[in-house]
């Protein structure tokens, strides 16, 4: 077990294994997103209430799911880095954070754009929207903190502490924001209270969600590999690799 963790933590091992895994995830991402998009945009039936504006769901929901998952992933990576001192975990965390922020932004943006035809407003202080906005700020904090240190090592550890503190707080924030919303204003329209979706609408959504996850994994593998090269640039195996490469 212990040995396995450390093997997993060896940058070279990770570099090699991810090289083999990466193409599969890229292929899966391309296929799933392509099929999902065409299906969702062109073939799924229009919603009986919202008409065609509901097609935003196929980018909105995958992005929203991913945004929350990535933060959990960030915290797990931080924990692994802090407890077992596995540097690859920190490199992954470093490249995951900006992508998570981008996904959060996509969810927020597509949601606001969707809000105009359905709610008649760009933004309202609904519980879920607000907690998504706060998640975006948490991402900004983690990214800014990592960049603020002169020494990369300290930046990594500080960002890890913040990610772990943040992930403990996310359920608390979510719970309190839910509570706050119900306190103030009767729920006129919430995202959850909708008729459950017909299967023709649901299938493309599932494909898109899976596609987004594949994309995230593939991109994270790719950027982590770059990060490994950058940080290990004077290790023997990297120099050999560079030399072989040309």
């Amino acid at each position: 077990m212990w040995a396995f963790i450390h093997k997993l933590g060896s940058p070279k091992w990770f570099y090699d294994i991810s090289e083999r895994l990466q193409p599969w995830f890229w292929a899966a991402a391309a296929l799933l997103i392509l099929v999902g998009s065409v299906w969702g945009l062109a073939f799924a039936p229009a919603d009986y209430q919202q008409g065609n504006s509901f097609r935003i769901i196929y980018v909105h929901v995958p992005a929203a799911f991913l945004a929350q998952s990535i933060f959990v992933g960030l915290a797990v990576a931080a924990l692994v880095f802090m407890v077992w001192k596995i540097k690859v975990a920190d490199m992954a965390a470093a490249v995951m954070a900006p992508l998570g922020a981008a996904m959060t932004f996509i969810a927020l943006f597509s949601g606001s754009v969707w809000g105009v035809p359905t709610w008649g407003t760009w933004w309202m202080w609904d519980a879920r929207l607000t907690s998504m906005l706060i998640l975006l700020f948490l991402y900004f904090g983690v990214i800014a903190l990592r960049g603020a240190f002169a020494s990369r090592d300290s930046g990594s550890r500080a960002a890890s502490v913040l990610a772990m503190v943040g992930v403990i707080n996310i359920p608390i924030i979510k719970y309190s924001v839910d509570w706050w919303y119900t306190l103030h204003q009767p729920a006129s329209f919430t995202i959850t209270s909708r008729p459950s979706m017909p299967v023709e609408m649901w299938w493309p959504l599932l494909l898109m969600v899976l596609g987004f996850y594949s994309f995230f994994i593939a991109l994270t593998l790719m950027r982590t590999r770059s990060e490994i090269l950058r940080r290990e640039s004077n290790k023997r195996w990297v120099r050999d690799l560079v030399r072989e490469d040309g």
């Binding site: 020494s151 090592d153 640039s233 004077n234």
Partner: protein, 214 residues
Amino acid sequence: MTFRLEARHLACERDDRWLFADLDIVVGAGEIVRIEGPNGSGKTTLLKILSGQLTDYQGELYWCDSPMRQVRSDFLANLLYMGHAPGVKAALSPLENLAWYQALAGESGSESARMKALAAVGLTGFEDIPAAQLSAGQQRRIALARLELIERPLWVLDEPFTAIDRDGVAELEQRLLAHARRGGSVLVTTHHDLTSLGELRRIRLGRGVVHAGQ
């Protein structure tokens, strides 16, 4: 039990440059060890590693033959560290500054002991003036008073002579010597000549070359 600080195969890299590599150091009771080297050779970095403040190094540290990680709190109870920053609160008087250091060591301490320590570093008459109103050298002398006040076997001192005048330097040298005679040990960096201390163990850092030895 007598004490011993040991570093094996110590190496530290900064920005793709090895400050030192494969360094073996043993500091035992009664020794004064001087770390030498030109500016930027890694003296401060080495002292911070040896005192357990910096953790990005390679190699192993031992305290009394146990790995440092396991006996860190034992080690800290034996260490007195003085860095580039003196650790003196400008708004507090010398006496109040020392009182806090005594308490940190777990002693409640007596005022007369603190007065004696301040007298020993030439601050008689300045005991109750806020440190902000003292000169650069006087502020460092407050920090030096800790050497008198708090009983610790291992002293780690980074440029302790900074800003100290000639008489002060001579007194401090005598203090180091006396500590070693009593069986304590001292790890020190300085650009001053420590002629009055006689032959010292030296560790030279610099330009990638590392010499350790008598």
